[in-house]
Amino acid sequence: MDTNIVEVINVTREVAWLPWAVQYFFLIGLSVGGVLLSLPGYAFAREEWRATGRVALLVALTCGLAAPVALLSDLHQPGRFWHFYVVFRPTSWMWWGSLIIPFYVAGLLVYAWTCLREELREHGAVDSRLAPLYRLAAAGGGRNDALIRAAGLVALAGAAAVVLYTGAEVAVVRARPLWNTPFLPVQFALTALAGAAGLVLILNRFAGADRAVEVRVNRVLAATLAAVMAVGGLWLALGLSGIEPTHAEALGSVVGSEAWRVTAVWAVAATAVPFAIALARPSGTGLLTGLIAVHSAWMFRWTVFIGGQSVPKTGAGFYEYALPAGPDGLLGIAGTAGLWLFLLLVITAIVPTPRRPASGPVRAAPAAGRAVAAAE
């Protein structure tokens, strides 16, 4: 029978996970991607990856340090964060996250220190007033590949735990069909890697524009985006075929919406375009592909979180979302971006990106490289 329903009165639920959460998942994902991209050059001492690893390390550090701040801000009672640490709640992925984040960030800091130690020592050898501080920070050592590898593996374990928990935390929410899919953790991981590659390309552009790094990372980006498209295509195919009821339901909840269709086209374009460019012209296009890739990784999270929460669980149609100007909206996004930039400036001021670190052993690089800062 032909049934027509008009909803006359119902409640609108506001988003409970604010744009802060988008920022958190974006930054922590990029940080994890940065760790992955830094591993070949540092933990596995592949010299041809070293220069890439140096920029990737910067991505991992800046994003990894800014991310927990965004997460804390997403709590409506941030001052109570210690409540996580006085209970045992193994059924909650978020509780596991509260243990994993400090483990990851601590591991990342130690790993970064082992990687940057030789640079610290070089700065300590220069005749300057800060030299003693650098010598102190280097703790009397230089490059130690065994130590870097050990720390790198710990950082990798932390990164894997972050990927697992951030993915599972969202994917287990059965009440939201769009989230409740085993594809989501994979999509988070792949888009994070693509975003990290994108940020490496951007930073590389401002820190000497190393062509070798650009070509290498553009290739990584192309491969990652290919995987992103494959997984996305599989998700869509499963949804359209109706074989998998969860995916069909997820697709069904948004397919009728014009706004969601526009978003889908946008997402495909933001993946396919940098893929094509990075594949066809890996040299000289890094800034462009990088910017699109970072944008695409962010958009994916915005769509999943803010878009996902605009799908009512019981009511008809969609909840409306208007980005507030204050801390719960635009100011939060701008604030996190500002914090990231601040961290970038501080870190590159302390350990400036070496100008030409790619060729030859880095330990031989002249200390004069210190004069060039990455983002200046």
């Binding site: 029978m1 032909d2 049934t3 027509n4 329903i5 008009v6 909803e7 006359v8 009165i9 119902n10 409640v11 609108t12 639920r13 506001e14 409970a16 996970w17 997403d74 709590l75 409506h76 009672q77 941030p78 109570r80 964060f81 409540h83 996580f84 209970v87 709640r89 059924t91 909650s92 992925w93 978020m94 509780w95 996250g97 509260s98 935390e169 287990v172 929410v173 059965r174 009440a175 939201r176 989230w179 909840s253 929460q309 009512p312 669980k313 019981t314 009511g315 008809a316 149609g317 969609f318 909840y319 409306e320 208007a322």
Partner: protein, 250 residues
């Protein structure tokens, strides 16, 4: 509701015969319960045929529980349903279902959300960090972040009144007699009898949450996420462009 009030006196200590048809909670979930009297299992039956959509319950709840502006622990969703050329208005009072297997419980990273041994699901807002995970996990949009307490909030079956031997405010105020509250552990209670004899429905049974708010006369079209034209008027939403278009479908 007189009969519901009487159930309160009979409720305590009664055997769990009436609830025989209802599934027991998972063992670990039951073990985690605290507070409340395990002799009771509070539940609500909503006879939607009797609801006139006056929203007296909505207002009573707001007054009783100091619910901030633009937030709701309960609301009577109202739909215009046209079927086979005949139009009618359907009312659907919504509230927390105090699910037997509540998905909002395991996700809470602090234990602020918990279930009492009488089945009532509550939030300790002195513990809650306002992470909003439970808001995501509830399949019924029953939860929200209270802007004044900055913690998770939802219907508590008016637990403070129930503990004092009173009915929830919405039940007390319901002019149509549509909301009936009582103890499922008491086979003689009205809710037990209605659940036994009327084969009431629950919302989104496919979610496996085992709700303890039952509906008599529920239109199957309204059981899950409602497929229809979005609301003409929504509290807290800005006036929007679809409204005039929506009206044409009615």
């Amino acid at each position: 509701m007189d009969r519901s009030r009487r159930n309160f006196c009979l409720g305590a200590g009664a055997a769990a015969v009436g609830a025989a048809a209802l599934a027991a909670p998972p063992a670990d979930a039951a073990a985690a319960r605290k507070g409340g009297d395990p002799a009771n299992r509070w539940a609500m039956v909503v006879d939607v045929r009797k609801c006139v959509g006056c929203q007296a319950c909505t207002v009573a709840c707001i007054m009783e529980n100091a619910v901030p502006a633009n937030s709701f622990r309960t609301i009577v969703s109202t739909y215009e349903v046209t079927e086979g050329g005949r139009a009618g208005t359907a009312m659907l009072p919504r509230l927390c279902n105090h699910c037997e297997d509540a998905p909002c419980l395991p996700v809470c990273p602090t234990g602020a959300t918990f279930q009492r041994r009488d089945g009532i699901v509550v939030v300790d807002n002195t513990v809650c960090v306002g992470c909003g995970y439970c808001v995501q996990a509830c399949p019924y949009d029953a939860r929200f972040i209270n802007h004044e307490t900055r913690t998770a909030d939802k219907c508590t079956f008016c637990v403070h009144r129930v503990d004092a031997g009173l009915l929830p405010a919405c039940v007390e105020t319901c002019v149509g007699g549509a909301r009936i509250f009582g103890d499922l552990n008491d086979p003689g209670s009205t809710v037990s009898r209605l659940v036994r004899t009327q084969a009431p429905k629950v919302l989104k049974p496919g979610q496996g949450t085992d709700p303890r708010v039952f509906y008599i006369g529920l239109d199957p079209n309204l059981e899950g996420k409602v497929e229809g034209t979005p609301t003409l008027w929504r509290p807290s939403a800005r006036p929007h462009a679809h409204a005039p278009a929506a009206k044409e479908h009615a």
